[in-house]
């Protein structure tokens, strides 16, 4: 399940982000009757075709896997959290229908009509992401039900469950992450191309669009991320303690930057500590008491090493994106606001940004999922009670990993092929040529 989700999240992020890039580039292509923008749009729409197909099927695996691996979760809580999944099906319908029209409708629709069919893909993608993440945020903040005296789930309010306290922040954080990761992936692909000497208009524009999408959102994302952490502080104190590698409950809690938590010795070594900063970040004043991991017995703590390191990585990458954004802006300013920097170090930084965005995405997912352990539904159901009683999970895992490695490899290979072409320096001609070929 974890593997499936970790795999799906990559395609889902690109699947919700890329359509937004496409409606932007296609708008410019049509509006300015510009062959280079059109060539980019066409090229990326093929990438989208592959990504959405893989995203659709890996998403199907998840809808089955919920039951296959977690019958305990579904049987008991299905009535509470089923609604967003049902609604997600509709959002996905809209996305899938219009992706078909968008990908295959180039020569059956007028240019502007075609452009319009991109919008339902954008909105459907964002809506599916929203619905799915509400279910996850419910697992962090389970509300919308009562427990009867004998422990049965009663008085179910699925809408309240869907709009649980974690929903606004978590859904925003995830959708923004998807857009950023897409933008930066695009940027990094073309930064690599430019480092190899392909510095034509096609590559420059692709890099500029990708970086802009990725980095404009970075400050917003840092702000939303801070809200997310405050929410965790309020609702899931042990998760916060694990994120920060904080063992002892204390007022004036320090913020630990870096460092390695050692569960055996119940301390975190090698970090830089900023006194009072954690209390201030989490609760707004530096003398606030922050609970430490020692509050609960070891079996009730999440995997502190993993969660702490993942969190540090995510935050570090987030701030690195802020830095890269500043670098881009200053460079742009110094070039008379006409072009982004194109020095080798800048391109190298941009090239690393794409993979880094996905590391941050996966790290964020580890933070939220592993950080919730040992609970599957926070405070209500332990993961061990929800998992299937069927044997052979190991085989499932191996088969899943094997399949996804194969698909991931095949998919990346195709996408790299797509990114590599067209090669010409004189872009306008190439684009025109490609256009005629593709509209055949």
């Amino acid at each position: 399940m974890a593997v499936s989700l970790g795999f799906h999240i990559v395609f889902a992020a690109l699947g919700i982000g890329l359509p937004l890039l496409l409606v932007f580039t296609e708008f410019l292509a049509i509006r300015r009757d510009d062959a280079v923008w059109m060539a980019l749009t066409r090229r990326w729409s093929k990438a989208l075709g592959i990504l959405v197909a893989i995203g659709a099927v890996s998403g199907t695996v998840l809808s089955f896997a919920l039951g296959l691996f977690w019958p305990g979760l579904m049987g008991r809580w299905g009535a509470v959290i089923g609604l967003p999944f049902a609604l997600e099906a509709f959002a996905f319908f809209i996305e899938a229908i219009f992706i078909g029209i968008y990908l295959y409708g180039w020569d059956r629709l007028t240019p502007w009509a075609h452009w319009f069919t991109g919008w339902p893909v954008v909105l459907g993608g964002a809506a599916s992401a929203w619905f799915v993440v509400t279910a996850n945020s419910w697992m962090q903040s389970p509300v919308g039900f009562e427990l009867s005296a004998n422990g049965k789930v009663v008085d179910v309010q699925p809408i309240q469950a869907m709009l649980n306290p974690s929903t606004p922040v978590m859904t925003t954080h995830m959708i923004l992450a998807g857009y950023m990761a897409t933008g930066l992936t695009v940027a990094s692909i073309y930064a690599v191309g430019m480092l190899k000497g392909r510095r034509d208009l096609y590559h420059r524009r692709a890099l500029a669009v990708g970086l802009t999408f990725g980095l404009v959102l970075a400050p917003v994302q840092v702000f939303v991320g801070d809200l997310a952490a405050k929410l965790v502080a309020e609702r899931q104190p042990m998760k916060l303690a694990a994120l920060e590698g904080l063992w002892d409950t204390t007022a004036d809690a320090p913020l630990t930057i870096g460092g390695i938590p050692l569960p055996g010795r119940e301390e975190t070594i090698l970090g830089i500590r900023i006194p009072g900063a954690l209390s201030w970040l989490a609760f707004g004043h530096s003398d606030a008491v922050v609970k430490g991991l020692k509050e609960v017995p070891p079996q009730d703590r999440p995997n502190t090493i993993l969660v702490h390191l993942a969190f540090q990585a995510m935050v570090a990458i987030g701030f690195a994106f802020l830095g890269l954004g500043l670098w881009s802006m200053i460079g742009w300013w110094r070039r008379g606001r006409r072009a982004l920097p194109d020095g080798r170090w800048f391109l190298r930084a941009a090239a690393v940004a794409g993979p880094a965005a996905f590391i941050a995405l996966e790290a964020g997912w580890i933070v939220t999922e592993v950080g919730r352990q040992p609970w599957i539904v926070y405070g209500q159901m332990r993961t061990a009670d929800a998992v299937t009683t069927r044997g052979g999970i190991v085989w499932w895992l191996l088969a899943t990993v094997g399949t996804y490695l194969l698909l991931g490899a095949a998919c990346s290979w195709l996408l790299i092929k797509l990114a590599g072409k067209p090669r010409g320096v004189e872009m306008t001609e190439d684009a025109a040529e490609e256009r005629t070929e593709e509209t055949r």
Binding site: G59, V61, I97, W106
Partner: protein, 352 residues
Amino acid sequence: MSATALEVTVLLAIGVGLTLYVLLGGADFGGGVWDLLANGPERDRERSLISSAIGPVWEANHVWLIFVVTILFAAFPIAFAALSVALYVPFGIAIAGIVMRGAAFAFRTYGESDTGWQRVWTRVFGIASLVTPFVLGMCAAAIASGRIRISDGIVHADLVGVWTGPLSWVAGFLSLAMCAYLAAVYLTVEAVQHGAPELERRFRRRALGAGLTAGALAAIGLLVIRADAAVLWNGMLEDGWPFVVSSAIAGAIALGATYRGKERAARAAAAVAVASVIAGWGVAQWPYLIVPDLTAAEAAAPKSSLGPIVIGLVVGAALVAPSLFLLFRVFKASQGPDAELGHASSGSSTSS
């Protein structure tokens, strides 16, 4: 306790979703089967006809399955959990098939033509299209045949036995034959639209063959139900029989229309024949969701959950129905003969 109006409404929506999945998604699988069986000098043109027919719509068609699964899980969570435990193995095979089918089709469409990988993906696409509907048919029979037992909320089902009874084998072959049949009927229409008489002739012949096979399997299925699934057989005798009749009549009309070259009438009648099989199955096993221990009323989520789901269904249908109409209007409306099919097994997207 009997089912409430809300429960029946949601069940009907699931039934409609399942029917559309078979009629649309099933045909996409059937297309994959014909892709696997394509041979002779017309092989490449057949495959490109299949690709161009499936390409724009398969993802939307596939969502019907996700719809069925998620609505079942939201509205009847206990049934969903029980099925997941009981049909752990075949569901696993089916989702593997779904993943490989979709991925292989995408890779084939967007990959470079005439490479070794292209042949590999084509083969994977075909095999996955064959296995998936077969296994899903076996699962359907497992649900109806009464082999999945549930007592005190505990599911009693061995890993393999529940879905490999006699009825499951017939249902697997029937499901496969229906998918292949629908695909052949639809592809005949597509071939006419593309102005490809040779392909039209080939798919017409296949439609006749697959249709006769499906009809025979359905008849055998009735005999097996009588011997192997008492609850279902009684349901057939009481309420299900009108659908058996309508399926037989529509099937006969469809075969006649195919034979006489009226491919559009054949398409409509074939859809009615297949939809009747699904409807007959559903009605015959009523009120059970999982025969013979779990009824719809027992498995249903509380009213406070079903209400928002029904509202969601109405709003969702209002959004999805016109979108689907647009999709099929753009790609499936008759346009007269268009681009030739000779090259480009990857349809409109051969890369430069």
